[in-house]
Symmetry: C2
Subunit: 303 residues, 2 copies
DNA sequence: GGTATTGATACTCTCTCGGCATCACAGACC
DNA sequence: GGTCTGTGATGCCGAGAGAGTATCAATACC
């Protein structure tokens, strides 16, 4: 009874027919296909019966395609070829030799761990394409939920957001980045309260309310009410503003490794906000080998 | 042992998988496919095993596609859809509800029998497209051999060419087509020898050496050596030249039914060349239902 | 905690498919 | 023209795949 797909044949019939149509000779075709000739005869006959159409004109001595047979071959052959390519492609994809991962990151990630990860990942999985886009923490969490990205480098609150796995990559007490000509730029040590008069460049609060508020709290505990000169994004623009002398900004020491001219990085004594960089992904993420490979390289496999 | 096409699956597996992937529910999918649920489970499991790739992530309660599964579905679905359309199309083609016939013809055919045949054919087989092209006899025979055309309306020698079936459609003693102002245009009766001074418009000899030579022989037997004004093709141009007053040309009475102004048709008394129009096709033509249909309409079915 | 739902398993049966042997027929060859 | 060779079709049989029924195990829901 369930002998009825909407197809009056099986893949086997098509492959058999194709071979006979190519060779125009049952015995040779049978040999190519590694079946006995009678099996071929019957398969073709069955195909013709199911289709209700004669595909081959066979006298006892000669085999030739009918018009319908030729049309059938022309229609079927490209489909068979396309279908033959599918398993290999899928296996490559499942084996992590192909595919793509969509990864989001913040400026801090790009300034620290990300370049090394990307270089190593590209070395080990040259077939997997990484699609990168810079995106603030809040947007990344949203994109992860939607499945728009597979994983992200972002800055969570101390309590990791629910539903995500995270791997801590960086946790550092922030220093300050100052314009080079700032009066404190050469001071050996700085405390937060020294910066009461200095305008600060921040990121838009909506991008990461938790961290934003921790920064404000740090000022508060130092007895200072900070002046927010501007809120800019992406991160590179914040550094640009500092360079232009418009104010200072917080910065993790790791991020201060290579800096442009005209700015100076100074660590902070006493209370200061902490930057935490994690790699996060959906706990229930479907088995995505490309993501898995990326997590392995990012050293987050265990989490 | 012959369990190895280059495909690790059968059409059945693909159809089953597609349905499960759509419904994400084995029981419902099984119902849609009119199989029992266990059969589905096993087919999918077998597909995954043969592919060596997990396509579905199934907890006991929820079914979802893996990344590989989604890619597989995307690759396979259009192929399945394309394949589903094939049998119907082929059946239509074999049943004569679709397809095309390539038909060649000469000017005489188009001026006499062809329009009626085409009208009737189009009425009875609206799905079959007729591809027409005007072509001289010799070229038609070549095209028939090559299979470039399925049948042709042409002018054979008395002995039909070998390997072809033909049906005689027209056999007429030619008259002459003259410019209206020609001195003989109003003569009640003409004989070939009256035309000794009149230049003649012919077709290139290579187009039909047999007929060409029969024309010359007719002149010869009338004691006349004709003056060939020009050899032109296709036929309409010959009539054009007559109209322009450059000479006369031979013409079958049937062809003279509707004529432009400025020309006059006159029958010939005594010896005159004969035009024979036949419909011809390869005797060993493979069963082409479209051709068969055309031959039936052209009244050549019996031959 | 009980119940219902859902996918997986166990077992059996059927029937298809493939192999082997053989047939029937058409060309080829002498 | 008779014989032989090669070709596709057919008959028969056995193995095995696939489907069905019954049932299990796990999980979500009340």
């Amino acid at each position: 009874m369930p002998r009825e797909y909407q197809y009056p044949f099986e893949l086997r019939h098509l492959v058999y027919f194709r071979e006979v149509a190519r060779q125009l000779h049952y015995r040779k075709a049978a040999e190519s296909l590694a079946v006995a000739q009678p099996a071929l005869s019957r398969s073709i006959a069955q195909l013709e019966k199911e289709m209700g159409v004669d595909l081959l004109n066979r006298t006892r001595r000669r085999v030739e395609l009918t018009t319908a047979g030729r049309a059938f071959l022309e229609r079927v052959e490209p489909l068979l070829r396309a279908l033959a390519a599918v398993p290999g492609d899928i296996q490559a994809l499942a084996g992590g030799q192909a595919g793509h991962v969509r990864v989001a990151f913040t400026g801090l990630a790009m300034a620290t761990v990300l370049p090394g990860i990307l270089r190593e990942f590209n070395r080990r999985y040259p077939g997997i394409k990484v699609e990168l886009n810079e995106s603030p923490t809040s947007a990344q969490l949203e994109s992860l939920k939607n499945g728009e990205i597979a994983c992200g480098f972002f800055h969570p609150d101390v309590t990791a957001p629910a539903g995500f796995s995270t791997k801590l990559l960086l946790q550092e007490k922030n220093g300050v980045l100052l314009p080079a000509e700032h009066k404190l730029a050469k001071a050996p040590k700085l405390r937060l309260r020294d910066l009461a008069d200095t305008p600060f460049v921040m990121f838009p609060r909506a991008h990461n309310p938790g961290f934003y508020d921790r920064v404000l709290a740090a000022f508060q505990s130092a007895g200072v009410t900070p002046r927010i000169a501007d809120e800019v994004w992406p991160r590179a623009n914040a550094i640009g503003l500092v360079r232009a002398g418009l104010g200072a900004t917080f910065m993790a020491p790791s991020e201060a490794k290579q800096l442009p001219e005209e700015v100076a990085f100074r660590p902070l004594d006493g209370p200061a906000p902490e930057s935490r960089l994690v790699l996060g992904w959906r706990k229930d993420a479907p088995t995505d080998p490309a993501l898995g490979a990326f997590l392995v390289v990012a050293g987050a496999a265990t989490a």
